[in-house]
Symmetry: C3
Subunit: 186 residues, 3 copies
């Protein structure tokens, strides 16, 4: 939990500016959504308790505008800025120190059973309104630009992806222009 | 109403998996939004009662994040997955067995009077964050991809449209790449 | 405040149609969000009162789905249609008689300190799900289409911008096709 709070403080320029603003972190909807997910909904989901975890998840969606399915696995230091409209699916897996903005979808295509949502590495930043669909793999240290769309394609480590459909525009610090590699062929 | 519930159960893989999860359907914000729209707001709107239908619609928007104008005509078996940020305009018409995802806009361009929102056929699926604007016609059995943008263009039956601006990428099961036909010339 | 109400009445075709519908303007979430911002949160922010303005802003986000940072400067006659998912950053400046739709982001890139959000002129219309990032300048009498993405580029007066990345498609009433001028080089 302290890592989640630190993630807010370090990532948001509007709070970082002044120690007087530190108490504002308790106002962040993502903090409420993540605490309930991490310490209540997800543990109850793993115990296979019916209904209650999903009820909590939907109630937190009402309070925060952030919908995290109780099944989602989320690493430490997770920060969702603004958060309205975020959807994280049941079989999504998110690594450590990831940052999401509002309206990000980590969802499914409707064509898979079982594992049907993305697996995301560590230190990944996903810009506002980006949509990631299907059981794809996003590497470590990846940046995904606002309004990017990725479906059925993987993203390698240490690159920046923008556009709809997403293209790699930076890799290991060098400017490039490459399509993503198709990982799921229908 | 039973058809709306069946639409949830059949369309959402996270519920479909197990009968134990069936009670979760009552948690779906779309179910609350649609029941109030279908059985209260829209009938009162047709009676030309002022204010009350719109008040109910805005109150349901607060509860569910889904904004359905009381004037919208919506067919049976309607399912909105997640739903946050959905906007359906006053003169929109939606056929039977349609599915929408969150952040879908079925709106107007601001340039028309009277009928100014889309007319959508049966068995249409509209992906997250797609935007459909103007009094356009979307055919039956159409799939519209996530983040697709369609304005002032019609979509024929049995095709898949993706991109911004939307292009037809599949028609009657065959891969194609065609622009949409302009239906409204300004 | 009267100008904000007039802005709703004049801009929304679903209210404009009939005087009987005028009372509906009090239902608009944008009106609640803007009144609290204009008359309470922003003045308290200017007095450098800690915590309270941000608390009010987050509470209004909960009620309306519209997140306006208390620091944002907003001119008269401001209208946000639908409004769910709108985010307006701390150092954003918006001129007079502007209209925004739902899911519009007036945000930062995370790479600037101090002034880090857009400055927007008068009579600007920004369509649904458009994203404007960075300390860019948007001129007067500009129209920005739905799902447009603009980052690190300015927009001159009297033009229409669409696409991701945004391009100028109309300027002083003439059809054109021009890229935007880069204003911030990283």
């Amino acid at each position: 939990m302290f890592e989640d709070i630190r993630a807010i403080y370090e990532n948001d320029p509007s709070v970082r500016g002044s120690i007087l603003r530190f108490p504002e972190v308790i106002l962040y909807p993502c903090l409420h959504a993540i605490i309930i997910h991490r310490y209540i909904s997800h543990p109850l989901y793993k115990l296979k308790l019916p209904f209650v975890p999903r009820f909590l998840s939907q109630f937190m969606r009402f309070l925060t505008g952030i919908e995290i399915h109780p099944g989602a696995k989320i690493g430490r230091g997770f920060f969702i800025d603004h958060g309205m409209g975020v959807v994280i699916g049941e079989t999504a897996e998110i690594g450590r120190n990831c940052t999401l903005f509002h309206n990000v979808t980590i969802g499914g295509t409707g064509k898979h059973e079982g594992k049907r949502h993305p697996t995301i590495g560590d230190n990944v930043m996903i810009g506002t309104s980006a949509t990631l669909l299907g059981p794809i793999i996003i590497g470590n240290n990846v940046k995904i630009g606002a309004e990017t769309f990725i479906m059925n394609h993987d993203v390698p480590d240490s690159c920046t992806v923008v556009g709809a459909p997403g293209r790699i525009v930076r890799m290991n610090g060098q400017k490039v222009d490459m399509p993503l590699k198709e990982s799921i062929i229908e």
